[in-house]
Symmetry: C4
Subunit: 208 residues, 4 copies
Amino acid sequence: MSLRRIEDTRELLCALLRAFHGRGWVSGTGGGICGPAGDDELWIAPTGVHKELVEPGDFFRMTIGTGEILDAPNGLQPSECAPIFRAICAATGARSVVHSHALSAVLAADLHNGNILRIAGFEMLKGLGLSNRETLEIPVVSNTEREHELTGAVERALADPRFARTPVIMVADHGAYLWGADPMEAKKHAEVLHWLFDGRIARHRYGG
Amino acid sequence: MSLRRIEDTRELLCALLRAFHGRGWVSGTGGGICGPAGDDELWIAPTGVHKELVEPGDFFRMTIGTGEILDAPNGLQPSECAPIFRAICAATGARSVVHSHALSAVLAADLHNGNILRIAGFEMLKGLGLSNRETLEIPVVSNTEREHELTGAVERALADPRFARTPVIMVADHGAYLWGADPMEAKKHAEVLHWLFDGRIARHRYGG
Amino acid sequence: MSLRRIEDTRELLCALLRAFHGRGWVSGTGGGICGPAGDDELWIAPTGVHKELVEPGDFFRMTIGTGEILDAPNGLQPSECAPIFRAICAATGARSVVHSHALSAVLAADLHNGNILRIAGFEMLKGLGLSNRETLEIPVVSNTEREHELTGAVERALADPRFARTPVIMVADHGAYLWGADPMEAKKHAEVLHWLFDGRIARHRYGG
Amino acid sequence: MSLRRIEDTRELLCALLRAFHGRGWVSGTGGGICGPAGDDELWIAPTGVHKELVEPGDFFRMTIGTGEILDAPNGLQPSECAPIFRAICAATGARSVVHSHALSAVLAADLHNGNILRIAGFEMLKGLGLSNRETLEIPVVSNTEREHELTGAVERALADPRFARTPVIMVADHGAYLWGADPMEAKKHAEVLHWLFDGRIARHRYGG
């Protein structure tokens, strides 16, 4: 079914996870997604499961402000990303966050300079609301042993005015958190950003 | 359904957009397509939407000569490519134009010399009507901040006799406009050209 | 439907063309295929059409010995490969030939030495009936302006005892002709050979 | 049908083979898989067949301890991997083994040092039960002319305490044997490991 015809948020998130798995962004149970459940609530995918096989009944409903779990499916745990998803939604107003484990995200983050990955010289930047003359500056935080330990560094990046228009935070050796106002904008940003990661890597190989 | 069995032009354009999205040529709402609506009219896809989700009712009907909009779907804007699509159709007689945002188009355009990308030494050139002994010369125009500002440079390339047999114009950092007499010839040219872009890049990496 | 459940040869050839198109081996109307129509006859796909859209009624029936056309669909021309397909079947006993326009075939052929592409050091060689200690030697003939002009060079390669166990002939800048006793063996050889082309290219890039 | 809804082990193994074939891990009849048939028994796929076309009735039932064949489909031979599959299950307690012929496995194994391939610096290591600060050490055994001749080297690697937590053994020029407690854990490990192979190769190309 066309994504445009899916009315239920959790069904849409499942369809996006299947598409993202086909592209290698959420392999081997890695990665994650959340979407809006209400004004101050999110549907959050579970951890430790094959993401392309997630079903609508598997999502946790969680408040953005306090992290209280309102609905919990039997036998599952919410994504370890939950505190990061909440921090991003609270700081930016986004209501859908994608956590990508794409190899291209890791390889692009390898090209950071002083913990900022810079990407310029691509029309595709317009897909993030920038002009094609601007430089996208993406914060790259260091990886930690446990995912929830990333939350502090993510919050500092969210508060940094240099990144106020950047809908993505990268984690070295790990992947990317990227977001949009809703799941379809998050999908758009996911496609644009992974294209830009590939482009940045390819031009680095050209020597650029 | 087989593309051969699709009789409605707009349905065919939608099927092509889905196929092109699967190949990474129209990611993140980028790219576009048009096809024939009548002798002097085009069906033009809308801007700012996920191209693989475009439906037949989303197309604008526009005259080639004046750009007058004859049919407009509610709540959408025609592709910013519309003036370029019209210029190509007016100058060449083509009735279907594809605007590709493929990374391979950008990386191949990086290899231009004096604003011409030259591709030779491939049997695949025959798919554009050339002999395999000829050199394909593609004009590469500089990118502009707004897409409609490209129209003048595109018109100059279309009028340049060196490119009279070249069914594609590239835009640096941006992508390619390519065309055919009808949507199926545009599809053929799209497949041939993206193959040639990949081949040109790969031989450059070989040192060729 | 599973390829194992397809009983009609022409339906099987159509299904293989769709699969090969998805892999980029027959893009932009390029490439071709034939399969057995009888003891001394072949079904041969038409030229100049989108290969993934070929239907059972589009095939030509042709004798291997004389090239006489026994059945011809309206409005189509048989593949320009027909003389080469017949030469391969006559010389080797094969009854299914695949003509690949894969970029990997062209890039691997670039690595020939004295018009022989050598591939060794891969378990995958067993898929061609070789031991993994043997070296696959593939003849690489020069491209010609017209496809039928290749026939002489192909016949000489077929008669060369060095290549008696090699089920593939490559054409520089162009692609590969590969074969099997029947369409399913040709499919197996196609998968093995394109894997080996990719492997040969990748190890060349490693400096091997 | 979602893999989560498949209750029959052999149907699940067939669905996994189709998915793995689509990724290039079991091309050209290569590769293999087994899954649990009972406490001390395995379902083992046949040799010499197109792996994506394997059907539930094609599997052999074999005891892990003695290799006795309890059920045999007509006209087929069990995978030559059978002794290796049995050795892995006996030594590790795994009940599902995947034999991958992916090119990425061969190219990653090329990067071994003293017959150990080391992979570190990736969050994705967590998918194998390691911390992201640990180094994955994978034994790389030399290829042999016949697959069953690998069994001794595989058994030595399985008995080596350095590799006690490593759910994969690689064979130079050939591929990888990887495993999990059941088919879905083997799928997870397959996705994680092929991601890591790609990552290791890409960072080698960066000069890392």
